[in-house]
């Protein structure tokens, strides 16, 4: 069964600007992915332990030790816009 997707909403969340005429095509493709996921949902999992990670490893920690950071000049040079000390980005309203 086809799954309805609000492609415009999904695109907005991902900050993608998609042309109006492409929405239906993306909707179809995303639908196929969701159908696949739905098929997997249907698998009998009774008695199977949940898996959060494919490798089966846990507790990969690092000790609380300081490592050298990068040089600020080099870092800021990579940015589209910066001051002597900061990255500069367009003004934004607080969305957090």
């Amino acid at each position: 069964m086809p799954i309805e997707i609000d492609v415009a909403h999904v695109a907005r969340l991902a900050r993608l600007s998609l042309p109006e005429e492409d929405l239906a095509r993306y909707g179809e493709q995303l639908g196929l992915i969701l159908e696949h996921a739905a098929a997997i949902q249907g698998v009998e999992t009774e008695g199977v332990e949940p898996t959060a990670h494919p490798l089966g490893i846990v507790n990969r920690f690092r000790p609380d030790e300081v490592r050298p950071s990068l040089d600020r000049g080099v870092v800021l040079e990579q940015a589209p816009d910066s001051t002597e000390t900061h990255f500069r980005v367009p003004p934004a309203l607080d969305a957090s």
């Binding site: 909403h9 907005r12 969340l13 900050r15 959060a52 990670h53 490798l55 490893i57 846990v58 507790n59 990969r60 920690f61 690092r62 000790p63 609380d64 030790e65 300081v66 490592r67 050298p68 950071s69 990068l70 600020r72 870092v75 800021l76 816009d81 001051t83 000390t85 900061h86 990255f87 500069r88 980005v89 367009p90 003004p91 934004a92 309203l93 607080d94 969305a95 957090s96």
Partner: protein
């Protein structure tokens, strides 16, 4: 906890979310230094700048410290837990997502006991989860105001600093309770030595979820998230204001909408913010770059065993030592040095009440005036014991003892020497006082006659005269005693 208004009786319901920056040496997922005072953008690397291909690795100390916080709050440590991605776009979050936790927080189901005006209550802790802090943005142009900024400057030193979010249950009903909860939580965090928890510097921050419902209504009202409170006082004010605002709004026919409102300290009101469509659609999913954590009892046990005594338990112990509740509550969460002085002085025979009063009142006042810390003064437990003995032996009046304490704090020497050098020793030798008293009696025969005749209130007159001629150095108790004997 019911607010009465023109239209009826309302029950406010408050939950608090607290963010605490951990003071680990390095960041949550990379080796950059945690130092928010450093020059902007000097503690940055491929991981915390989200350069392509960089991979996070979990700082174990941060996980130990959040477990410490959780255990101190009576939480359970989740045996199998994972990090999740919280997806949103903002300049302070370079990856396009924040590594946080969703359905499996490190700690869950605890509580914190608070007291307001002598009424105790228990606030449930729903969860404490681990995440990374965001970068610091600064709005440039036109006075730094967010609505008129021409650009935003970003400093990534704070990005990736270990951040613990502690979420209470909606168990509070007044601004005063919200404040008491936040204060108690701060004391716990300080006692655990995991953060400096400074409100003004943002290493401890709180948001309040506020709703109101008619008394007796089982369903919660629509909650509003109130942000931007930078002190305990503003938390209390903001919560109380938001409660009144919601009640007034409903009474005038309005409906409370779910939104985020900013507290404005200057005008004492909360203001709605323009919310972006879909901004709360975070599409959490398990972080594929980090393997899960298995925190079993073997991992938790040593952390539990090493928990320090918490302020609440310590205050109870101090009360048992004979302190009044007020002094115990002030001293229990005081600086480690103050507590060490108190406990060693009492261990060496000092009177608990006397030592506590000096520390809580006089020493604190002196330090504030001198704008310095206890650690910077030479005051020792031995000094406090010696000072107590001088008072007990009648050699120092209580006011002279406070003066001596000031000299000791200033580094002028030990109490006995300082008292001697500053001529503060009381005359507690009956012989020396007797001749002074005789002279005063001879000079005031009428008053003396009335005193002998039973006019008790003249005791004050004679004691005052003796204090005057001895320049305040006579032991007033001894003077009254001699007067009684002579009459």
């Amino acid at each position: 906890m019911i607010v009465e208004s023109a239209s009826g009786r309302w029950e406010p319901v408050i939950g608090i979310e607290v963010h605490v920056e951990l003071e680990t040496k390095s960041k949550m997922f990379c080796g950059c230094t945690v130092d928010t005072e450093a020059e902007p953008n000097t503690n940055v690397c491929p991981v915390c700048l989200a350069l392509p291909g960089a991979l996070p690795v979990i700082n174990e100390r941060a996980i130990e410290w959040i477990a410490r916080i959780g255990l101190a709050l009576g939480c359970t440590v989740t045996p199998d837990t994972v990090f999740s991605r919280k997806n949103y776009f903002y300049a302070d979050i370079p990856k396009g997502y924040q590594i946080s936790q969703f359905d499996l927080p490190v700690c869950a189901d605890g509580h914190l006991d608070i007291e307001v005006d002598g009424v105790a209550s228990r606030v449930g802790i729903e969860r404490a989860h681990m995440e990374e802090d965001t970068a610091k943005s600064q709005h440039a142009g036109d006075g730094g105001r967010i609505h008129t900024a021409t650009s935003t400057l970003v400093d990534f030193n704070r990005a990736g600093v270990p951040l613990v979010e502690i979420v209470s249950r909606p168990d509070m009903h007044t601004g005063a309770q919200a404040r008491a909860y936040a204060q108690a939580l701060r004391q716990v965090v300080l006692a655990l030595d995991v953060s400096d928890a400074k409100l003004e510097e943002g290493s401890m921050r709180f948001d309040a979820n506020v709703s109101v419902r008619p008394e007796g209504e089982p369903e919660l009202g629509t909650k509003v998230e109130v942000k931007n409170m930078n002190s305990f006082r503003s938390l209390e004010r903001a919560v109380d204001h938001e409660i009144s605002r919601q009640i007034a709004h409903i009474e005038s026919g309005g409906t409370v909408i779910q939104e985020t409102r900013h507290w404005d300290e200057a005008d004492g009101r909360t203001h709605g913010m323009r919310t972006k469509e879909g901004s709360s659609d975070y599409r959490y999913f398990t972080e594929p770059d980090l393997p899960p954590m298995h925190l079993d009892e073997d991992w938790v046990a040593p952390i539990r065993a090493a928990l320090p005594e918490l302020p609440e338990a310590r205050a109870a112990r101090y009360r048992q030592m004979g302190l009044e509740a007020g002094a115990a509550d002030v001293l229990a969460p005081a600086s480690p040095r103050a507590r060490e002085l108190f406990e060693s002085a009492v261990g060496a025979g000092g009177d608990p009440r006397q030592v506590a009063n000096w520390l809580v009142q006089d020493v604190t006042a002196w330090l504030r005036k001198a704008d310095t810390d206890l650690e910077a003064t030479p005051l020792s437990a031995g000094h406090l014991v010696e000072l107590g003995r001088l008072v007990d032996d009648g050699k120092l009046s209580s006011s002279a003892a406070v003066m001596v304490l000031g000299h000791v704090l200033a580094g002028d020497g030990a109490p006995a020497g300082v008292a001697e050098a500053n001529d503060l020793i009381q005359i507690s030798d009956a012989g020396a006082l007797e001749s002074a008293i005789d002279e005063i009696i001879a000079a005031n025969p009428e008053e003396w006659e009335r005193y002998v005749g039973g006019e008790q209130k003249l005791t004050g007159f004679f004691v005052g005269q003796v204090m005057r001629v001895t320049q305040g150095k006579a032991d007033p108790k001894l003077v009254s005693q001699i007067l009684r004997d002579k009459a």
